[in-house]
């Protein structure tokens, strides 16, 4: 008995000891080498930030491999010239974790926030800091008022925009357009005429896919937002997104019906993929691929769709596929639907302010664009007007940046990202999917309106 007991004591002691040993082993981490800064640009542009040696700034984001590398590299000139150290942490669970961290009093210095709605929630926690004067000045200089408004909460300006994407794009085959003599439409009416012309031979000109796991339906919400913005104008769009007008009022209903003129029109869809219902079962990644086979001619999807085409596809004005801007009602209208990220600070230490300012400059925008072009072949743009389009390598990035920088452009953020979660990431998706598989427009808008949180 006593031998068993002493063995037990031994087990307890050894277990505890081992535990303590591993703890000590944990605490000594190896320092990583960070002295090899890339860029090599001269430090004149960074003089204003002063000497920040020994200081560090933490950045927390949802951007992970492989897109994180260009970000880290774009910070290197700043690190090299000021001596500050930037700690970049990418986390796929960013969108839920950042709220937890902000509420728990453990926020990062800077968070790259992908949605204005989330930005509002973060500011509401009281942990966020207003943007310094220098950042506000840069944003006034390099961005339109529409962009600044998305970084502003309750009249106070918090966050400068970072990257951007353009959603108002229609993919097509340049070769087909050339062979058949089709012209790129400049108004919505022309787009309709073009679709009809294409459909006369029995071909279904449009293809679409909205399946996307639990987010199934989101491409329809983009369609509807694009048409709402075009048919009712930016002011009505803002009212719709903020629920100042009801979801089932005349404007949104007309917008969804207009989308139905394309997506629920069995003469138009679903080229190479089946009937109208097949839109619901086709993944959004596969939705535009029939263009390559020639079974479909037009596909409305954001600029990022470029990366969905198989390797070897030439995405250019003279290539296999390219995109044109989804036109407005008038040829002079320039409404653009898109998305983007914002840099929100949770600290106002000098080095954080300096880094925040760097991120809002044209210097950073061009550094980032160059590095993205080198490392990942592009795929990154910003609405920063200081961005030199020549720094973008791929044609679709160039087109998107040109659209964003056009002074006539009226930019609006993806509405479902701005609506409350109960609508923007639940009812709007679900009901749009039901709409594709047969539910009427009226039932659809009524049900989404009913899901809008009271209060």
């Amino acid at each position: 008995m006593s031998s068993i007991r002493s063995r037990r004591i031994l087990a307890a002691v050894s277990g505890g000891l081992g535990f303590a040993l591993v703890l000590t082993a944990c605490s000594s981490s190896t320092p990583s080498d960070n002295s090899k800064a890339a860029g090599g640009a001269d430090c004149a542009a960074y003089k204003a930030y002063g000497d920040l040696s020994g200081k560090s700034v933490s950045v927390y984001t949802g951007i992970v491999t492989p897109e994180d590398k260009p970000y880290m590299d774009s910070y290197k000139p700043f690190e090299k010239c000021t001596g500050a150290k930037i700690k970049y942490v990418g986390d796929k669970a960013f969108e839920t974790q950042i709220l937890v961290r902000a509420k728990a009093g453990n926020p990062p210095d800077i968070a790259i926030v992908p949605q204005p709605g989330l930005l509002k929630q973060l500011v509401a926690t009281g942990a966020a800091k207003e943007a310094p004067q220098a950042v506000a000045a840069n944003v006034d200089k390099f961005w339109g008022a529409d962009w600044k408004a998305y970084g502003t909460v309750g009249g106070k300006f918090y966050a400068a925009p970072s990257g951007a994407s353009v959603k108002s794009m229609v993919w097509y085959s340049p070769k087909e357009f050339k062979d058949k003599g089709y012209k790129i439409p400049t108004t919505l009416a022309e787009l309709k005429t073009l679709s009809d012309t294409m459909a006369t031979g029995g071909k279904k000109p449009w293809c679409a896919g909205i399946a996307s796991g639990e987010a199934t339906g989101w491409p329809v919400t983009d369609w509807m937002e694009d048409f709402m913005l075009r048919l009712s104008g930016p002011d009505a769009y803002d009212q719709w997104v903020t629920h100042k007008i009801a979801f089932n009022s005349a404007g949104p209903t007309a917008a969804l019906d207009a989308v139905g003129g394309y997506l629920k029109n069995d003469k138009y869809v679903n080229g190479g993929l089946g009937d109208v219902k097949s839109i619901a079962s086709t993944t959004f990644q596969d939705g535009g691929l029939p263009i390559l086979q020639g079974t479909c001619s037009l596909h409305r999807q954001a600029s990022f769709y470029a990366s969905n085409f198989p390797k070897g596809t030439k995405v250019a004005e003279d290539g296999d596929v390219f995109a044109f801007y989804l036109p407005g009602v008038q040829a002079t209208d320039r409404p653009v639907l898109g998305g983007g990220e914002f840099n929100l600070a949770f600290a106002d230490r000098p080095e954080v302010k300096a880094f925040q300012t760097y991120l809002s400059t044209d210097t950073w925008a061009n550094n980032k664009a160059k590095i993205s072009s080198d490392l990942t072949g592009g795929g990154w743009i910003t609405a920063n007007k200081g961005l030199d389009v020549a720094n973008l390598v791929n044609p679709i990035d160039k087109l998107s940046a040109t659209i964003l920088q056009d002074p006539k452009t009226v930019f609006r953020f993806d509405g479902s990202d701005l609506m409350p979660a109960a609508v923007g990431s639940d009812a709007f998706w679900k009901q749009s999917t039901a709409w594709i598989t047969g539910q009427s427009t009226k039932d659809t808008v009524d049900k989404i309106e009913a899901a809008w949180p009271k209060s």
Binding site: R5, R8, I9, A11, A12, V13, S14, G15, G16, G18, F19, V22, L23, A25, C26, G213, E214, A215, T216, G217, N270, G272, L273, G274, D275, K277, S278, A280, S281, Q293, T295, P420, A421, A422, S425, D426, A427, K430, T433, A434, T437, K447, A451, P453, K454, S455
Partner: protein, 321 residues
């Protein structure tokens, strides 16, 4: 986090576990002379602690939250429960859950039982059993992805090939491809097939074991009395394995009530295939409607409890024999 850190964390957790168990054993050994009851309490303490922190507290909190609105601010009484039983979408959810619970356990058990009887004493019994048991080893999500491919739809157009097994078979037979997962209410049955595919192996294993446990003398006596094979099944096998059948039925029913992975992976709850567990998840975490989500969780709990109680009773009954 890189791999070495993860392994280190795992080692830490194991060591922590060993240390805790060691300390407990130590305390218990020191306390032995204080009487058996005290020792029992010492050993019960961790379980009670973990049950109350991990089960009791969340359960009470969830029930409490189910009486509040979406933001968890205003008390709305039974408002969330009213929504569940009045909104047309939620009623579809309830209807589907009923379909799942009624169809899956009976069909899976029937198939398992039939299979167990058919392969009983057959030549390659072990192999035949392994084949049907194999789906049990596949996770629900993986199984759903496999079946999603089986149901995959491609249009009936020249130059387009079917990639879904079911539609290809249909095309070979001269039919035209169907959207299996899109048309209500049939799509729910196509999802149920996946669950049956997984659970039939479980039913077969348990039932086969209890068939083998039937004493040979009973079978012999029945044979001498001139009972045919159908009669043998009806009057000997079935009554003898009745407790096992009920345990299998209820276990599958509990699993089916909680079905989530299959629906979420294959349709995301769209096309009228949603079930309570999936709706509870999407209300709580996507629509951030904690109130309604909690109410659905409570409803699920209420539905599961009687089956669990019945299951445990039957389990005890079959053990005591």
């Amino acid at each position: 986090m890189d791999t070495s850190v993860k392994i280190l964390t795992m080692l830490l957790a194991i060591l922590l576990f060993v240390a805790v168990v060691g300390v407990m054993l130590f305390i218990a050994s020191r306390a032995e002379r204080k009487g058996a009851q005290f020792v029992a309490y010492v050993f019960l303490f961790p379980s009670i602690l973990m049950l109350s922190v991990g089960l009791l507290y969340p359960a009470v909190k969830t029930i409490y939250a189910s009486f509040f609105d979406a933001a968890g601010q205003a008390f709305i009484g039974l408002g969330n429960y009213h929504t569940i039983f009045s909104s047309s979408d939620e009623i579809t959810v309830l209807r589907n859950t009923v379909l799942w619970v009624v169809v899956t356990p009976f069909v899976a058990t029937a198939i398992g039982l039939l299979y167990a009887i058919l392969v009983e004493g057959a030549k390659a019994e072990a192999f035949a059993k392994a084949v049907i048991f194999l789906p049990m080893a596949i996770s629900m999500v993986a199984a759903s992805i496999i079946w999603k491919f089986v149901y995959e739809f491609r249009p009936d157009q020249p130059g387009v090939n079917q990639i879904g097994l079911l539609n290809q078979v249909l095309v070979w037979l001269g039919g035209s491809p169907q959207q299996w997962l899109l048309n209500t209410p049939w799509n729910t049955f196509f999802l149920i097939v996946v669950m049956i595919w997984i659970q039939a192996g479980f039913a077969m294993t348990i039932l086969s074991a209890s068939i083998k446990a039937i004493p040979d003398d009973i079978i012999e006596a029945a044979r001498l009395d001139g009972v045919g094979s159908l009669g043998m099944f009806r009057f000997v096998t079935l009554p003898m394995i009745r407790p096992s059948v009920i345990v299998v039925l209820t276990t599958i029913a509990i699993g089916t009530l909680k079905v989530f992975d299959v629906v979420r992976t294959m349709t995301g709850g769209n096309f009228g295939t949603n079930v309570v567990a999936n709706e509870f998840y999407s209300q709580s975490f996507r629509a951030s409607n904690e109130g309604l989500g909690s109410a659905l969780a409570v409803l699920l709990f209420i539905l599961v409890v009687p089956i669990v109680v019945y299951n445990i009773r039957q389990l005890r009954a079959s053990e005591s024999r």
